[in-house]
């Protein structure tokens, strides 16, 4: 397990990370979400040792990370970086060799990886001759070519077309399935929601929520139900313990104080007309995210 313990970091007078603590569990994909400037990139740089923390530390399976251990990390920086004038295959091979892989094996691995990522035809082109999406694929190859044991990827999906997203998702899932801790940040909340087992939410340099996706949903999502009947459910507006959010003839989404109030609604609806569907509405990650960040902001304001 990769663990970040009480990490603080300032740039000048500005506190960018404030007591950041979270876990990245093995065998699971962890999504790292937060707004612009929330501290995601800084956190990832500190995990990789590219940037030093003012205080706090990062451990892997309980041992403090050092440079030797970090060499087995796969890292994709936020601002993409490869040599623009170098051929794709050559630079991926070079990066593998810097990790200690010998020349022959490095070339074989780089070739196989680039083919898998759909760059087989372009691997002898110079990087800046590739489209942005293909440069992004090359970047992913750079993070994976040394067969890392931990993956830290900053926005790996930005700029990828849906097919490329699927390929990358497949690769990341494979790593996780082999027991590697995998963490990636993303602005695409629906994608994170679809992929991640665990979530870490950061805002203004503080971890606002962290844990399993369903746990977060349970903790932050409001209990909401959706009902679809053949009749009119206008009476819902005056039902006890119920607040209607959306309404359209026989269809409605409402919040209920508790399960009993919701069940009461179902019984009453059944008395009046056939019910096509009734069930809880799961909060989307975007909603949870707004909720988490808003919560904290209001407590902040109240202080």
């Amino acid at each position: 397990m990769l663990q970040v313990h009480h990490v603080n970091r300032s740039f000048g007078d500005r506190l960018v990370l404030d007591d950041v603590t979270f876990d990245v569990r093995r065998g699971r994909l962890t999504g790292f979400v937060g707004g612009n400037g929330a501290g995601k990139t800084t956190t990832m740089r500190i995990v990789l040792g590219v940037l030093a923390a003012d205080s706090g530390h990062v451990t892997l399976d309980g041992t403090d990370l050092d440079a030797a251990e970090r060499r087995f990390f796969g890292y994709m920086p936020e601002e993409r970086g490869l040599y623009p004038k170098m051929r794709v295959l050559e630079q991926i091979t070079y990066l593998a060799r810097l990790h200690g892989v010998d020349r022959g094996a490095a070339t074989r691995r780089a070739t196989a990886l680039l083919e898998r990522l759909g760059l087989g035809e372009r691997m002898n082109d110079r990087l800046d001759d590739l489209s942005l999406g293909n440069q992004q694929r090359a970047q992913i190859a750079a993070a994976l070519v040394h067969e890392p044991e931990v993956l830290v990827l900053d926005e790996p999906f930005s700029g990828l077309d849906p097919m490329a997203v699927d390929v990358v998702v497949g690769v990341l899932s494979e790593y996780a399935a082999q027991g590697a801790p995998v963490i990636f940040s993303s602005h695409q909340l629906d994608l994170v929601e679809r992929l991640c087992d665990d979530l870490v939410v950061i805002a203004q340099g503080r971890i606002r929520a962290a844990g399993g996706r369903e746990d977060l949903r349970a903790a932050y999502g409001h209990a909401r139900w959706e009902i679809d009947t053949a009749g009119d459910v206008g009476w819902l507006r005056s039902a006890p313990g119920v607040r209607v959010q959306h309404f359209d003839g026989g269809w409605a989404v409402f919040e209920a104080d508790d399960d009993a109030a919701a069940q009461q609604v179902l019984r009453r609806a059944l008395e009046q007309a056939p019910v096509a569907s009734f069930g809880p509405v799961r909060s989307t990650l975007a909603e949870i995210f707004r909720e988490v960040v808003k919560d904290e902001d209001t407590t902040e304001a109240a202080r």
């Binding site: 093995r26 590219v50 990066l95």
Partner: protein, 397 residues
């Protein structure tokens, strides 16, 4: 109405089937990606970086073209020099009859036979020959010299009986040769150092600008990176300088200027040696200076002082190559020693131990500058955005 559609859309998009399927497979098993390759040490990593620098540069067209131009230039200047020297040395002299014997066997003269004194006189007047030697019965040497408006001392010299001369001091080096050789050392140093120095600067900024430096630093230390850069470019610069030296030596031998080679041979070897160490020093400065900025557009501002330092030896040696004091100082100051000391050796002004002392000084300076440069480089490499001031870089993050 639109909100309802959103709600329904979201509802169907929520569950992640793929996730459920995947997380069922072995969670918690250790990552098994075969054996870990042994970590490359600092030296090995530096060698890999150096290899990349060299192979990248060697393949660029600009490098190949500029090297070719340099080599051709050196060869051409030697060949042209020899041709010019050859034309100068043979003075055409008209000879009449028995007077030819007086000049026979003398180097540096080309005898032009003239039928009689009148023809010889005409040849001189036309400027075909510099002088004419005609028989003169009354004269103690048996000949008379005709010339246009100036006594041809070289001709008179060989025809006269001269007393033995003992020189108490060795003669000064021929002014032209002295200038050319100084100029040559200065120019080669300037071209190579500035050329490869800017190459280092460019590479450093490219890495910083493209952020590949983050990936590199997550893999190897900044020291390995800097060492590899300096090593790779020093090898290139050394190779180029050695090639120039080789071409110069071959050129001198082929054009039959062996005597000049005897004078210049040892200084050239010293030059290559000094250059190697001096370049390492400059390379560290170029890399450190370039690491302060994040964009190619800003390179100029930080490079200016380093470029001036690189150019100083060239200008000093061009303007002061006849001033022994300036040369002596130059030959000990680390930045200018690679030019100053070989020039002094060529002029025969330096004692045998002087280059050794200067080289030791240069090595010490290079070690110090590399250590300092590494510090600056390490600390500013990841600072992007504006320009990092030198003070910030030295004070640390």
């Amino acid at each position: 109405m639109s909100t309802q559609v959103d709600q329904r859309g979201n509802r169907s998009g929520t569950p992640g089937e793929a996730v459920a399927a995947r997380s069922a497979t072995g969670a918690g098993t250790p990552a098994g990606h075969g054996g870990r390759p042994a970590a490359p040490g600092t030296v090995r990593a530096a060698l890999l970086v150096a290899e990349r620098e060299v192979t990248t540069v060697v393949r660029t067209k600009s490098f190949l073209v500029s090297t070719a131009i340099l080599l051709v230039g050196v060869l051409a200047s030697i060949v042209v020099g020899s041709v010019l020297a050859g034309r100068d040395s043979d003075t055409r002299v008209a000879v009449v009859g028995a007077a030819a014997e007086a000049l026979a066997g003398q180097d540096g003269f080309e005898a032009v036979d003239a039928a009689d004194e009148a023809e010889a006189r005409r040849l001189v007047e036309n400027g075909d020959v510099r002088a004419a030697v005609v028989p003169a019965e009354g004269s103690p040497v048996g000949v008379r010299v005709l010339a246009l408006d100036e006594t041809p001392l070289d001709v008179v010299g060989v025809l006269s009986v001269a007393p033995e001369v003992e020189l108490l001091e060795e003669s000064d080096m021929n002014e032209g040769v002295r200038y050319l050789v100084s100029f040559g050392f200065g120019l080669v140093f300037l071209m190579s150092a500035a050329g490869f120095g800017s190459m280092i600067a460019q590479n450093t900024v490219t890495e910083k600008q493209s952020r590949i430096v983050e990936i590199l630093l997550a893999t190897v230390s900044a020291r390995s990176l800097l060492a590899g850069k300096i090593l790779g470019n020093s090898l290139l610069a050394f190779g180029q300088t050695a090639a120039i030296a080789a071409v110069a030596v071959i050129g001198l031998v082929v054009t039959g200027q062996d005597d000049l080679l005897g004078l210049i041979g040892a200084p050239v070897v010293w030059f290559v040696l000094f250059f190697l160490v001096g370049f390492v020093l400059l390379a560290a400065m170029f890399a450190a200076a370039a690491s302060l900025v994040s964009r190619m557009e800003d390179v100029g501002s930080v490079m200016t002082p380093v470029i001036y330092l690189t150019m100083t030896p060239y200008f000093l040696v061009v303007f002061f190559n006849d001033n022994p004091t300036v040369l002596r100082v130059m030959s000990y100051v680390p930045f200018s020693a690679p030019v100053g000391m070989p020039v002094r050796l060529f002029l025969g002004e330096a004692a045998w131990w002087e280059p050794l002392v200067a080289l030791a000084l240069l090595v010490v300076a290079a070690v110090a500058v590399v250590a300092l440069g590494a510090k600056v480089y390490e600390r500013s490499l990841l600072k992007t955005g504006g320009r990092v001031t030198l003070r910030e870089a030295l004070r640390g993050s």
